[in-house]
Structure formats: structure tokens, C-alpha cells
């Protein structure tokens, strides 16, 4: 059976590449060097796991999915995935990619999730956006591994409950470990801590709710799912910042890892957001 090699839960900051690499040094933000160091250290947590396949959890930001037909949970099953939309190049200077898919694991994952009560939407022509490309850039910039993309709804209320995002993670974990293969599978998901977009708390000196950010990192670091579920509801997430629902994708990653302490925890306070970089090795890792 396949081995779950690592689980990574990371914030995605679409300006990372621009602010730390593309802008000339004299124009970079003061935290650029520290940010780059932290990201490269985080990247090592994936490299050390020696993965063969990446299961990637993210959310379509109204690129391919719209309100005429928006899935709660969706999975890609395709031999290849184009990535990066025109308005992401325009706004964030993100590069395009063509990632290989892993159709066999996608199909196994789709059937396994349906068997466990997750009636997934499926896409055979999925173009990925920055929720998946940002972690590719930060954790696997060579983009040399096949991916299985899984999208969740973090934008179109009513969303699934936090419990459901956790349960999705638990199901993904079981399915990876039942996959008849000798491959090493890493799961990488990206989302947010507190975040405001298009509202009166956006683009301030810190994220909109530093206290939430501290508690959120604590729940993930300590394996405290009970604390998380007691304090996070789909109703209250918006009070921490109107786009804080992206935290739910980190809850799914936590679900894949299970209620255990994280092996690697780092964060960085930036203008507009706090970044978090968390890795679990549920089966250990050789250092």
C-alpha cells in the first residue's frame, strides 16, 4: 500500500514570488529575505519526505467554477493540468505551469470518497489556480511530481461545516493508505489564517485578527481538533475576517494528519496576513 509521506498545511500568499524574487532587491518589502528563508526551510520538510505523488487541496477562486454551478467538493481526474489564470498573472505575476496528473490515484480517490459519503464533483478538464500553484512554487518549485487536485468550497455560502472539512481529511488519509502502490504520497493543502478581502479590514499592517491567528496555529500545532471545532463554526469564521474561510482547507490537512502534534511549525507576520507553515509526518521521516 502507498505510504503517507508527509502532510503540509500552508497559507498561500500569491505575492510571494513577486515580492521575494521578481521585484528588484531595492523595491522588496523589509521582510523579503526572512520570508524567503522561512519558505525555503519549509520546502525542506517536503523534500525530506521524498514524495512520489502530491495530493493537493485548494479552492477555485471563481476561475473555473462560478455561481451557476459551484461544487462543495471536487476532484480533478486528468492526465495533465494547466495552471494559472490570466487575472492571476495580471495581479500577482504568477507563472503558468502544466502539471502531470495521476489518474489512477484520482480515480481511486474519487471512488474511495464516494464510498465514504463524499459525493464529489469530478472534472476531467481542470485548470488549477493559485491555491495549488502557490504551494507548488513554495514547496516544490520544480513542479516535477504528478498531482491529484481536490477543491473545496471556501467562497460560496453556505459552506460545508468545519467538522465536514476535518472528516474529508480523515477520509483522504484512509484512501491514500489503501492505495495499492508502493509510492510515497504527500498531501499539501493551502488556505489562510484570518483574512479580509474586499472589506474594511483589508491590507492593514497585520492580518485582520491576530488573536485568531495565534489560536489557529496553536490548534494545528498541538493536534487540538476538539479546541478547533469548539471555537470555529461556519457562522463565526467571517467575524475573524470576511475571507477567513480559507482556514477550512488547513482543517482538511489537519484531518489527513489526524489529532497529533505537528512536527514542524513556523509562521511570519506580514502586512495584510500572517503566514503559517505546518508539517506533520504521521509515519515519521528519516532526517
Amino acid at each position: 500500500m502507498a505510504t503517507l509521506a508527509a502532510v503540509l498545511a500552508t497559507t498561500h500568499h500569491p505575492f510571494y514570488l513577486k515580492l521575494t524574487h521578481l521585484d528588484p532587491p531595492e523595491k522588496r518589502i523589509p521582510q523579503a529575505a526572512e520570508w524567503k528563508r522561512k519558505v525555503e526551510a519549509y520546502r525542506e520538510t517536503l523534500t525530506a519526505a521524498n514524495p512520489d505523488i502530491l495530493v493537493m487541496i485548494g479552492a477555485d477562486h471563481f476561475h473555473q467554477f462560478f455561481l451557476d454551478n459551484y461544487p462543495q467538493f471536487a476532484i480533478g481526474k486528468a492526465p495533465r493540468y494547466d495552471a494559472t489564470y490570466y487575472n492571476e498573472i495580471r495581479e500577482f505575476s504568477l507563472p503558468t505551469f502544466v502539471l502531470d496528473g495521476h489518474e489512477e490515484l484520482s480515480q481511486f480517490m474519487l471512488e474511495g470518497l464516494i464510498d465514504r459519503g463524499f459525493d464529489m464533483a469530478v472534472s476531467n478538464e481542470l485548470k488549477l489556480d493559485h491555491s495549488i500553484i502557490c504551494p507548488i512554487i513554495t514547496t516544490r518549485p520544480d513542479a516535477d511530481l504528478p498531482v491529484v487536485p481536490i477543491y473545496t468550497n471556501i467562497f460560496v455560502p453556505p459552506l460545508p461545516t468545519p467538522q465536514r472539512f476535518w472528516d474529508l481529511g480523515r477520509a483522504i488519509r484512509e484512501i491514500i493508505e489503501e492505495f495499492p502502490s508502493d509510492k510515497r504520497v504527500a498531501a499539501i493543502g493551502s488556505g489562510h489564517l484570518s483574512l479580509e478581502l474586499g472589506g474594511p479590514r483589508q491590507f492593514e499592517e497585520h492580518g485582520p485578527d491576530p488573536e485568531f491567528d495565534k489560536r489557529a496555529i496553536g490548534w494545528l500545532a498541538e493536534g487540538d481538533i476538539d479546541g478547533l471545532l469548539a471555537n470555529v463554526t461556519r457562522e463565526n469564521l467571517g467575524t475573524f475576517g470576511n475571507a477567513t474561510h480559507g482556514f477550512l482547507d488547513l482543517v482538511t490537512m489537519f484531518g489527513i494528519a489526524g489529532p497529533i502534534k505537528a512536527d514542524y511549525v513556523d509562521d511570519l507576520d506580514l502586512f495584510h496576513t500572517r503566514e503559517a507553515y505546518i508539517t506533520w509526518y504521521p509515519n515519521g521521516v528519516e532526517r
Binding site: E91, P157, P158, F203, N242
Partner: protein
């Protein structure tokens, strides 16, 4: 009120740089054209259309004026609204008043909503 139709306008316009440029430079004419074409289209073909969607006058006025404060208050989706108006205004603002100056102005114009429950984006 049709939050969905407003969101459809923002979504379909921001996907295409040529349409975005038309919305930036001649918003009233573009909105008229959009209502006759993309607004009616179901999916990717002109062969299938939706007959009943329409803006209110308040929505039309706000869209023509690029009035993202009113759109926020009407419940337009915050992500679609922010993204399209960044696309229209960011470079012009950045050239004059520096990076993220448009985003800060956007925030400040919504400051009267701070601490309040925001309008629902549910269509």
C-alpha cells in the same frame, strides 16, 4: 435585486482582458452590450440563453460608476468585486501613489462597515 447577475457581470468581465478594458474605458456602453450578449448567455454558447435575469437601476448605476462601495452594500461577492477593480485601477494608482494604494483606498471607503455585520453575499 439580482446579486447573482451582478456577480455574473463581474465574473465574465474579469475573465477577458479585452472586456475588462471596455468596462474600464466605456462602462455604460459596455454594460448595455453585456446585457444583450454575455448576460443572457447560459454556459459557453449563444445558442442557450437565460430569459429572466435583469439588473435593478441601482445595480446598473453602481456598475457603470465602478461604485464598489454600493456593490459591497448590495451583497456583490467581495472576492469578485475586489479582483476586478484591482484589475482596473491598481496600475494607475501604483504609478502615482505607490503599491497597494488602491487597495487601501478601497478599504477606507468601506470603513463605515467596520465592526458591523457585512451584507450577505448569498444570492
Amino acid at each position: 435585486m439580482s446579486k447573482y447577475y451582478v456577480d455574473k457581470f463581474l465574473y465574465t468581465t474579469d475573465r477577458d482582458p479585452d472586456l475588462l478594458e471596455r468596462y474600464k474605458t466605456e462602462p455604460a456602453q459596455y454594460l448595455d452590450w453585456w446585457e444583450q450578449h454575455l448576460g443572457r448567455r447560459l454556459g459557453d454558447s449563444d445558442a442557450e440563453t437565460t430569459s429572466w435575469l435583469a439588473f435593478t437601476e441601482q445595480e446598473r448605476t453602481a456598475l457603470i460608476a465602478h461604485d464598489y462601495v454600493t456593490l459591497f452594500e448590495l451583497g456583490a461577492h467581495f472576492f469578485l468585486s475586489l479582483t476586478i477593480y484591482i484589475g482596473i485601477y491598481n496600475d494607475d494608482y501604483e504609478a502615482v501613489t505607490g503599491p497597494l494604494s488602491f487597495q487601501r483606498e478601497y478599504r477606507d471607503k468601506l470603513m463605515h462597515w467596520r465592526g458591523k455585520t457585512y451584507p450577505s453575499v448569498i444570492c
